[in-house]
């Protein structure tokens, strides 16, 4: 077998909705290929759907950032190992048994049943935000007035964070996610968010409310540091990802009028439409990343202990072996279940059932309330988040007449 080696991970998109075209070529040649890292390490790039699932489902890999070789994409791949150590409570990066212990403290809060019970309340938040959007008359930025506020209001209320204090974390979240931030800038932003979270934990301890953070503290299980980092993870993960799916998803639908017509004519298609938008857009540029903790064979390749593996979720979500027909096309009626946009394995998105409900309600109500919603700028002028760790649109100028 000839090995396919990439000197660098392709990251330049040619179109707003598609991953860089080189990825499909790499996947067609080798679903598992070699990739060079900033320090010269020859690691792996996984672009096939079942291969991504296999790595993410294996207990022989860690998501501890201190163990990963880095790509040049961020900080030129130069971050001292001791500054990459995970902080207690950042369960996304922890291995079992710590990961299991911490995640289980929260899992009961995000069950399908609990999230379904929130439908009506989320519907009210969406309706209020649509009224706010309408108050602009006939044109507005959908990101600032709808896509970002909806998930931010939801996660703030669930966690018990005062929405009026969002300036204390939203700007710093942007700095943390910006690929243009220096390492020191990103760390400074992180420290400010951490300070806010520590203050929040102290407040909740003194004056508990009816919210997830108070409930978590009431169990007496996590240390203050763990609780603070767990809450930070939920807050950041809870608004950036869904907000960008709403913004980019709306842009996508407006650019695919035949598909938007299906969504408008057949309201029941919305559940599958959300899965298909997740599959088609993936919302991250690439990743997640894992490092092997022992030698492991994946799909005929021997991955050695210490090797870093970059999974490419956008490429895997367009793998024709998993999604036959034309996986490069958006098709709201396609069976899209099984996409890996929420990941796979024990770290699969904890908030995915909340994200699903938010997206189903938001997309359905947006296009009901604004049947003639349209782009208010040339499509090529929509500012894309190519400079951010999470993709999407920085702004989406829209217009309507009724």
């Amino acid at each position: 077998m000839t090995e396919v080696i990439s000197e660098k991970l392709p990251t330049t998109r040619q179109t707003p909705f598609d991953p860089p075209p080189e990825l499909a070529r790499i996947r067609d040649q080798a679903a598992i290929s070699r990739l060079k890292f900033a320090d010269g390490h020859l690691g792996w790039l996984v672009t096939g759907h079942h291969q991504v699932r296999e790595v993410l489902g294996s207990p022989k890999f860690t998501n501890d950032p201190a163990e990963h070789h880095l790509l040049e994409v961020r900080f030129q791949g130069e971050v001292p190992k001791e500054r990459r150590r995970i902080k207690p409570g950042m369960f996304l990066n922890q291995d079992p048994p710590d990961h299991t212990r911490l995640r289980r403290m929260l899992q009961g809060q995000f069950t399908v049943r609990r999230m379904n019970q929130l439908s009506e309340w989320i519907g009210t938040i969406v309706d209020d935000q649509l009224e706010h959007l309408r108050s602009f008359g006939g044109r507005a930025d959908l990101v600032q007035e709808f896509a970002l506020p909806v998930p931010s209001l939801v996660i703030c209320a669930l966690l018990g964070v005062d929405y009026d204090e969002r300036h204390r974390f939203q700007e710093d979240t942007a700095k943390l996610l910006s690929l243009n931030s220096t390492f020191e800038e990103a760390m400074a932003a992180m420290e400010r968010i951490e300070a806010f979270m520590r203050e929040l934990i102290a407040r909740k301890k003194a004056d508990p409310g009816d919210d997830m953070i108070s409930d978590l503290l009431a169990t007496g299980e996590p240390t203050d540091e763990e609780a603070s980092n767990m809450a930070m993870l939920l807050l950041l993960a809870g608004h950036e990802t869904t907000a960008n799916m709403l913004g980019l998803g709306t842009f996508t639908l407006l650019r695919h009028p035949d598909q938007l017509k299906i969504l408008r004519d057949e309201p029941d298609v919305v559940d599958n439409a959300v899965e298909e938008l997740m599959r088609y857009l993936s919302i991250i540029h690439f990743g997640p990343v894992r490092t092997a903790t022992e030698d492991v064979e994946i799909d005929g390749h021997l991955i050695k202990a210490g090797d870093t593996v970059v999974m490419h979720v956008p490429a895997a979500n367009r793998d024709p072996e998993k999604f036959p027909g034309n996986p490069e096309e958006l098709d709201l009626r396609r069976p899209a279940t099984g996409h890996v946009a929420f990941g796979h394995g024990i770290h699969q998105c904890l908030g995915q059932q909340l994200a699903r409900i938010e997206m189903r309600i938001a997309f359905a109500k947006l296009f009901q309330a604004f049947p003639d919603l349209r782009l208010d700028t040339a499509p090529e002028d929509v500012p894309l988040r190519t400079d951010m760790g999470i993709y999407g649109v920085h702004a989406l100028p829209v217009a309507w007449s009724s």
Partner: protein
Amino acid sequence: MKISVDQAKCCGSGMCVLTDPDLFDQNDEDGTVVLLEEHPDAAHEASAKEAAGLCPAGAITIS
């Protein structure tokens, strides 16, 4: 067909409940899987297999 679930492996993603709420539920305390039907009838066999395939933690087996 027999469904088995492993609570120790379960990571509470809810994919099984999303796929077939007649067969699976989640514990309110820690979100782990609760099996409602060990032996699904013919109408639920396909969704039982789908749920096993979708489970991110490999906590559902079909025999």
